[in-house]
């Protein structure tokens, strides 16, 4: 049965009808076309589907969309703002933290949740925070270094067009 869902995604109001059995992950990808959020298991094992709900990271494959009524959701599509990539995105791109890029959205989101609460985390804290996100390509080191670099970055992020 379809139900009416109203919540905020990437600072935009969403008001839709969707199947009541659908997870937040499915609604984001299939009903809202936000395919940046990925799935690797749909059982809460890999971390690929992480999004922020009211600033906290959660696995969107384990959450029914109806449970998110009224929440403020942030996905990877909402990380860049005003034409600027988030410092995490810049550092991931520059430092080889994304290889195939499939786990990347979930890791960026999880790392953002960490940095929002702990602007200068230790390496141990970063590893702990990302320990629920599986990556098969990188061996994680370049990811951890990119999070450290983003945490260090005090200068304003660079615009795409300034980079050329």
């Amino acid at each position: 049965m379809k139900v009416r869902l109203a919540f905020t995604v990437n600072e935009e109001t969403v008001d839709i009808l969707a199947e009541d059995y659908k997870t937040l992950l499915e609604v984001l990808r299939e009903d809202l076309g936000l395919t940046g959020t990925k799935h690797g298991c749909e059982l809460g094992e890999c971390g690929a589907c992480a999004v922020l709900a009211d600033g906290k990271p959660l696995l969107s494959c384990l959450m029914l969309a109806v449970e998110c009524e009224g929440a403020e959701i942030t996905t990877v599509e909402g990380l860049a703002a005003d034409g600027r990539l988030h410092p995490l995105q810049e550092c991931f791109a520059d430092l080889g933290a994304a290889q195939c890029g499939y786990c990347t959205p979930g890791i960026l989101i999880t790392a953002k949740a960490l940095l929002d609460h702990e602007p200068r985390p230790s390496r141990e804290r970063i590893c702990e925070a990302l320990s629920g996100n599986l990556c098969r390509c990188t061996g994680y080191l370049q990811i951890v270094e990119a999070v450290e670099a983003a945490a260090r970055q005090s200068v304003a992020p660079v615009r795409d067009e300034d980079r050329r």
């Binding site: 059995y21 990808r29 299939e30 076309g33 395919t35 940046g36 959020t37 990925k38 799935h39 690797g40 298991c41 749909e42 059982l43 094992e45 890999c46 690929a48 996905t75 990877v76 599509e77 990380l79 860049a80 990539l85 995490l88 995105q89 810049e90 991931f92 791109a93 520059d94 430092l95 080889g96 994304a98 290889q99 195939c100 890029g101 499939y102 786990c103 990347t104 959205p105 960026l108 970063i126 590893c127 702990e128 990302l130 320990s131 629920g132 996100n133 599986l134 990556c135 098969r136 390509c137 990188t138 061996g139 994680y140 080191l141 370049q142 990811i143 951890v144 795409d160 050329r164």
Partner: protein, 824 residues
């Protein structure tokens, strides 16, 4: 002429990085099309059974179901190797493992398709199940397949290079060791997905997470009996491959058929359990090494036997079998060598190529045995290896051509950086270091379907905007192949990588590249790209030379300009150069292609192992082992890789670290293992833990510090000197871990994975006065075929077998090629 490289060798943001960090990379399951339907597969619940009947009437009548397919609709067999076309998209008369697809439902959504799949009734007549190679060897009947060498032996091969038995008999020391390497799976985070549709002209289009669009193209042509020219395969960026997306898959053929029948787009995305069942991963291998060594530590003969658990289908298995014995000789000088390999069918998901394809298993055995030999001879294992490293520019006993070899430098580097000499046999109980080495191909020297065609092609289009578009069939699986393509072209033409657009992995738009397997893309696509770019540069240079009245040999392409090297201010922009050339000669497009050099071996089986150039790696692993519990952790890894030239050091380092990570997963925890259900639940042979939670793989918390060294001596065969880096660095990790455990607590774990339980068992055996070892006891007696006898080069051999019937050579193979390729 060109100046110093501006792009090559500098750490750079890869060209597709922005798409990846913004979530805009479009993977196969991200494709949503109007009127798209969804497919689910019904999979066998029986490990080995005849299909008596399939009743899909209930499924067909469910609202929202558009189509039900069974094996009836798929009469034509296909497979990746021409010698093993043993798969049908849906099983026809029998099933061969729990998970073999039996029927497909195409419905308006996944939920409806799943509901319909669950009400299809299949009646099975169970057959004897073969759970292990021992069982398959013990019983000739029932046969899992009606082809293969005999019984349930898929393939048994035997090759002999010189008088191995004589050499071993004359040796001062003979080492005889048995090892086991458990299977593991690729576990890409992206589940396999495919979308098929008819284009408006009525031609078939298939988007798929495949590493090998060219081979999928061929398989679709055969299995669906449609002309190749009427099929377009687009490889979407793979969310990780590691070899697991290199076969043409049943689900790809099923949705293609459904899209043709329904004239609507059809999508399938496998769930995680199905990805475990697709598998095609690391073969479990039992192996025995008998090695003869002189008193001063020279290997004079090696006799290797391997037994591969192939699972239920052929896949790449014949190649995998040869690979278990192909590369022993390219690292160390082994003057006489015999290899016998046997692959059997079992009722489990099929094994195939995983990173290192067939070579990590026997590399593990060889490198652990070398550690034992060094121990026995009381020499340092690093020194021992340095004495026996294979010579450069040589041909091995089995006719593999070794060109540049940086192995000695790799060993010296990790020894120095790890402070090996202060640690080996000197650390306190419970801490240890181990060393191991490896080698891998920079692309297979022969294509899967033998022919004389190029292995990679690149087309360039230069237009008046000053932009360049590069077309190549290469497939981006995360390794950075698009970045390599763009970087090489930008380097040659003196422009920025961002000025080059890559169009890749599309059988309609791009020239063939054989695919992302065997670490072939950087070298083969790279050489093709350089050729195409140099041809474009020559066209521009000729036109600009005339315009500026400067000899073309004096023109420099750099910084988006073409200018006189003697008067740098005298020049034109790159865009102007393109316009001048276009005005002069017309539309500018060039091509480049690459075919590997011929290999010196001419015996049957010599096609597996050759490559334009081998990469080499050495690694030192440090372990902490609790002598009470066997608990093992890895705090540090030092690794040096002979890469020839790092085109983009950021990506090269990522490949090395990713290999170390995946190697540690195999070394310590990953197991594609099976169990029987209890009798009341059919006793079926099922995957032990087809989920990411229980199939353990390393997390951030398991990762050691990794100290990576890239050894750079440009190789003449590679683009700007580059060799492979995607697979070789994985190989030394597993044996280095096992060797480090011995250094730490004095027990040998001769099987992978090296788990705390196995270490503890060996410690307990040691305490009880038994051999301080955990590992297989013996290698079974196998009825080997008479080996092909090939004299090594230093015994006057010409690369042919003396007891092999004269082969008709390429022509016969080309016949197979023609038969497969011609559309019906």
């Amino acid at each position: 002429m060109n100046t110093q490289p501006r792009v090559i060798g500098r750490p750079r943001r890869r060209v597709d990085a922005r798409a990846k960090v913004t979530g805009q990379t479009r993977f196969a399951d991200d494709i949503m099309l109007p009127r798209m339907l969804h497919c689910r597969l019904l999979r066998s619940t029986q490990p080995h059974a005849r299909i008596v009947s399939i009743d899909a009437s209930k499924a067909s009548s469910i609202d929202g179901v558009h189509l039900v397919l069974t094996g009836e609709q798929f009469p034509i067999a296909y497979g990746i190797l021409p010698v093993s076309h043993d798969e049908h998209a849906l099983c026809r008369d029998k099933v061969r493992f729990v998970g073999d697809p039996v029927a497909a439902v195409i419905a308006r959504d996944e939920v409806t398709a799943e509901r319909a799949v669950n009400v299809i009734d299949v009646t099975y007549e169970p057959l004897r199940t073969f759970a292990s190679p021992a069982e398959s060897l013990a019983h000739e009947e029932p046969r899992i397949h009606d082809y293969g060498d005999h019984g349930n032996v898929h393939k048994a091969v035997a090759l002999q290079f010189g008088d191995v038995d004589g050499a071993i008999a004359a040796a001062d020391h003979v080492f005889d060791d048995v090892f086991f390497f458990e299977g593991s799976t690729h576990l890409p985070i992206e589940q396999h997905a495919t979308v098929a549709m008819k284009d408006p002209d009525g031609k078939l289009v298939v988007y798929s997470s495949t590493q090998t669009p060219h081979y999928l193209h061929r398989a679709l042509t055969k299995a669906l009996a449609i002309p190749a020219a009427h099929i377009r395969v687009v490889a979407t960026p793979n969310g990780g491959g590691f070899g697991g997306k290199s076969d043409p898959f049943n689900h790809e053929i099923v949705v293609a058929k459904a899209a043709l029948l329904l004239d609507r787009p059809v999508k399938i995305c496998l769930n995680r359990e199905e990805v475990f069942l697709c598998h095609r991963g690391r073969h479990p291998v039992l192996m025995r090494f008998r090695t003869g060594v002189t008193g001063d530590g020279k290997i004079i003969g090696m006799d290797l036997q391997t037994l591969l658990d192939g699972g239920a289908y052929g896949s790449y298995g014949v190649a995998s079998t040869f690979y278990t014995g192909a590369l022993q000789t390219v690292t160390y000088d082994i003057p006489r060598y015999r290899f016998r390999g046997c692959r059997v069918f079992t009722n489990k998901p099929p094994c195939g190529p995983k990173r290192g394809h067939g070579t990590p298993q026997s590399r593990f055995g060889q490198e652990v045995q070398l550690d034992k030999i060094a121990e026995h001879l009381r020499v340092d294992p690093a020194e021992f290896r340095l004495r026996i490293v294979a010579p450069p520019d040589s041909v091995t006993a089995n006719y593999m051509r070794v060109g540049t070899i940086g192995l000695a430098e790799c060993i010296s580097r990790v020894v120095e950086r790890s402070q090996w000499k202060d640690k080996f046999r000197k650390l306190p109980l419970g801490r240890g270091v181990g060393l191991a080495c490896s080698s891998y191909l920079s692309g297979a020297g022969l294509p899967i379907n033998w022919n004389d065609l190029p292995h990679s092609g690149v087309q360039l289009k230069l237009d008046r905007s000053g932009g360049v578009t590069a077309f190549c069939g290469a497939t981006e699986i995360g390794q950075g192949s698009d970045d390599v393509l763009v970087a090489l072209i930008a380097e040659v033409l003196g422009i920025d990588p961002f000025d080059v657009r890559a169009v890749t992995g599309d059988t309609d738009l791009t020239p063939v590249d054989l695919g992302s397997y065997s670490s072939r893309v950087t070298l083969m696509m790279g050489n093709a790209a350089i050729q195409a770019a140099e041809r474009a540069r020559d066209i521009l240079a000729a036109a600009v030379s005339a315009r500026l009245a400067v000899p073309s040999t004096r023109l420099v392409f750099a910084d988006r300009r073409v200018f006189d090297s003697e008067h740098p201010e005298h020049g034109v922009t790159f865009q102007e150069a393109v316009c001048i050339a276009e005005a002069s000669v017309g539309t500018i497009g060039t091509t480049g292609s690459y075919t590997p050099p011929k290999s010196p071996g001419h015996y049957k089986g010599s096609g597996v192992g050759p490559t334009p150039t081998y990469s080499y790696t050495a690694a030192v692993v440090e372990v902490d082992v609790d002598p009470e519990t066997g608990w093992i952790t890895v705090p540090r890894v030092w690794i040096a890789h002979d890469i020839g030239r790092a085109l983009n050091p950021t990506l090269a380092r990522g490949q090395v670290e990713g290999s170390v990570y995946m190697g540690l997963g195999e070394a310590l925890m990953e197991e594609q293992a099976f169990r029987r259900l209890p009798p009341r639940l059919s006793q079926a042979l099922v995957h032990k833990f087809p989920s990411m939670l229980e199939y353990k793989s390393p997390t951030t918390l398991d990762m050691p510090e990794i100290f990576t060294d890239l050894i750079e001596h440009p190789d003449p065969e590679g683009p700007f000197g580059a060799k492979e880096v995607g697979q070789g660095p994985l190989l030394p990790i597993m044996p280095a871990v096992a060797n480090a455990v011995y250094d730490a607590v004095g027990v040998r774990v001769d099987q992978i994975p090296v788990t705390p339980e196995k270490i503890l068992r060996a410690l307990q055996a040691k305490a009880a006065g038994k051999p301080a070892r955990s590992g297989p006891a013996a290698f079974p007696d196998i009825a080997w075929p008479e080996p092909l006898l090939v004299a090594p080069p230093w015994e006057g051999g010409d690369g042919r077998a003396s007891n092999e019937a004269k082969r008709t050579g390429r022509k016969a193979e080309a016949g197979i090629e023609a038969k497969v390729a011609v559309p019906r």
